[in-house]
Each structure stands twice: as structure tokens, then as C-alpha cells.
């Protein structure tokens, strides 16, 4: 359990650094402010973005701990495939995996669409950081 917690903390720091130092997100993320949940079956992560920077990431938030605007939910196996350097077909994005695999897009999808450019880039950073499940 302690090892898992440490792994989650490591991932949070890597994902934060990858985001905050990403040239694309920093060039275009001036208004990239929103909060979303990554539900990876075994664990979930609530990411809060502000002005293109990671403001906070909560691990396994409790039922009433905080709020988010949209959520991505999929099995842990699907998330592991998202995190591969070159994902196999249908695991190469949120559109492909929601059309053809078990990814569910939930919540206020307008917020996702409003931030689609930066979110798409940030999601692909998982190929560098790996996923914490």
C-alpha cells in the first residue's frame, strides 16, 4: 500500500512537470482552466488545471471531497494501454477508445470541447509519464 502511494505520488509529480513544461500546452494554454476526473478502475485522479498549469491532483478523492466538470472512466487495462509509448489501434486517443473500446466520457462535455486542444495534448503526455495503475 505504501509502495502504491509512493508510485501515485511519483506519477503526480511527473504528470505535473510534463504538463507545466510542455511547450505546446504552455504556448496555447492561457485559458486552459478546468477540472476533470481520470477514473482508472483501481484508482481515480482528480486533476485541476489553471491557466495551463496543474493546480492540484487528488488521488482517490472521497465522495464529497471535491468537484470536477467531466470524467473519463475506463478499465485499468485500457489506461495501461493509453500509457504505452506507441499505443495500439483504438487505444491512441479518447475518441477512438470511446467509440471502439470501454472508455466512457461523462459530465459536462462542453468543457471538454472548449479545452479539447490542450486536453488532447495533455492526455498524450501519459505516453511519456505512464499511468498510475
Amino acid at each position: 500500500m505504501a509502495a502504491e502511494t509512493a508510485a501515485a505520488e511519483r506519477w503526480i509529480e511527473e504528470f505535473r512537470r510534463a504538463t507545466d513544461e510542455d511547450p505546446e500546452i504552455q504556448a496555447h494554454g492561457k485559458y486552459y482552466s478546468c477540472s476533470y476526473l481520470l477514473d482508472m478502475e483501481e484508482h481515480s485522479y482528480l486533476v485541476k488545471m489553471h491557466g495551463g498549469k496543474v493546480e492540484e491532483i487528488l488521488v482517490d478523492p472521497g465522495p464529497l471531497d471535491d468537484r470536477y466538470q467531466f470524467a473519463l472512466r475506463a478499465s485499468a487495462g485500457t489506461w495501461r494501454k493509453f500509457g504505452e509509448e506507441v499505443p495500439e489501434p483504438m487505444y491512441h486517443g479518447i475518441w477512438s477508445a470511446s467509440f471502439q473500446r470501454d472508455l466512457k466520457l461523462e459530465g459536462d462535455l462542453l468543457v471538454l470541447m472548449q479545452n479539447l486542444r490542450c486536453f488532447t495534448r495533455q492526455f498524450e503526455l501519459l505516453r511519456k509519464t505512464g499511468v498510475p495503475v
Binding site: 489501434p89 470541447m113 479539447l116
Partner: protein
Amino acid sequence: MAQFSPVTGRYVTIDVLGDECKVFFLENGEGQPLVCQHTAGCHNHQWRDLLEDEEITSRYRVIAYDLARHGKSDPPRNKEWWKEEYRLTADYYTAFIVAFCDALELEEPIFMGSSFGGNVALQLALRHPDRFKAVIPVEAAEYSPGFFLDWWQHPQANAAQVCASGVWDLMAPQSPEKDRWATWFYYTQGSEAFRGDLYFYSVDHDLRGKLDQIDGEKCPVIMLTGDYDYLTTPEDSKRTADQIRGGEFIEMEGIGHFPMSENYPLFKRYLQQALRRIEERTGARAG
């Protein structure tokens, strides 16, 4: 020393079911006409590398047009188009392509299109098997629901970015980054047409139960689909080709829904296979 491309651009005005359409097209090469249709909400720059590929243009006259409302082809000039919702239909789309080929006096052109251009290639094979030597439907299927969405034009989102990043996953992650970004860039330019194009792609185009009416012996149908295409999967295209008399399907590995634009060198290998099959089956050498 200035570097001029051998590709030239021209306009031709055609009548499409009463619409006056001034059509912009790029072309290069000599020999067998090869008419190329871009994907929904995009324009003819998707064919930029094919147009400058001497190995192809030495034997084929490659022509890539912009459909009306795309790229440099304006909406119909004789109509108050701004008072209507744009919804492309199979009737209009096929009439446009035949009128364009007639205007250029093309004899037995091969028609190739990707995505909604691939679906219309199937429509052409069904409706006009005498007008085309063969068709190459790329990323096509008999039916492709699910993409006629309001998100493409939602007033509270940036339509240019929604369209461009919304189709990002249609490309394979290993396709060259600069070519994926060029394709992304083209997609920021076409949001007003994209949704209406997808009316054809996902709604009006429905050849389920009609594929046996396509004579793929008379007009060979050689289908190409990439394995990273989540909208029209290789299984969808194979199922379609299997129902067409004389239909053929070639799966493309490591490429997605915009193959000619996202990774031309890889696409070219499969295109050459398709062109060879057409030569073998029609008994005619190009060029």
C-alpha cells in the same frame, strides 16, 4: 533560386443541380486521370505529396479539387446559401463530381477519395459505373454512423479547434508529427462545412442492403483502410468489399483515417498496389 512546384491551380465553373459552383482544383502529371477528393471539412492540400510525386505523376494526371464550400471553392454563387443549413446529400455530391469530370472532359478517370470521399466513391460505383474506370474508396464503408454531431459548430466552443483536435485521434500516433499537424491546421479552416459534410458521411450515405447492386467487375472497387481508423475500421471496409461483386480490400498497417495527408510515403505503397490491381483488371497501362 526560387523553387516552383510543378503543381498548378485553376478554377472551373460548373452547374450542379442548378447551383453555379466555381471550383478550384490543383493538378499535375500526364496520362490516366486520377481524380482525388479530400475528406470532410478539409481541402485539396491533403493530396499535396501525391500531387508532387513524380513516380505517380509521370503516368497519372493527378487532379485534386476542392468541393464547393471547401478551400478555395466558394459556396454556390447564384444562391442565398447563408439562409439554409448546409447538409450534403449523396445526390448532390455525385452530381458535383460527375459535372466536374465532364467539365474537364476526363475520359475514364479513376476516382479516389478518403472518408466521406471514400463513401462517395462507393456511391459513384453504384450510380455511374460507366463514367469511371475504377474507384479507390479510402477509409470507407457502406454505412458510417456517429459523426453528424453538433459539437462541430457549438457556439460556446472554438469550432476550429474542436474540428481539428476532434479528428486528431483519427490519425496514427506514429505518423510524422509535421504531417499530422499540417492536417490539423487544414481542419481549423473548415468547420463551417464539416458538420454538413458529415450529414452525408453519417446519415445520407447508407448502402446497407444495396452493395450487391454495385458492379465491381465493370468498375473495379479497390478499398484501402488503415488500422488506426476508429470511424471506419478495417473490419467495416472488408465487410463492405466482401459484399461487392469484384470488390477488393487492402488493409493498411500503422496509419489512420487521413492516410494521404498524415503519412504519404506509407500510403503510397498501398496506393501503388491499388493502381496495379486496376491496371491488371482493366488491361490498360496508365500513361
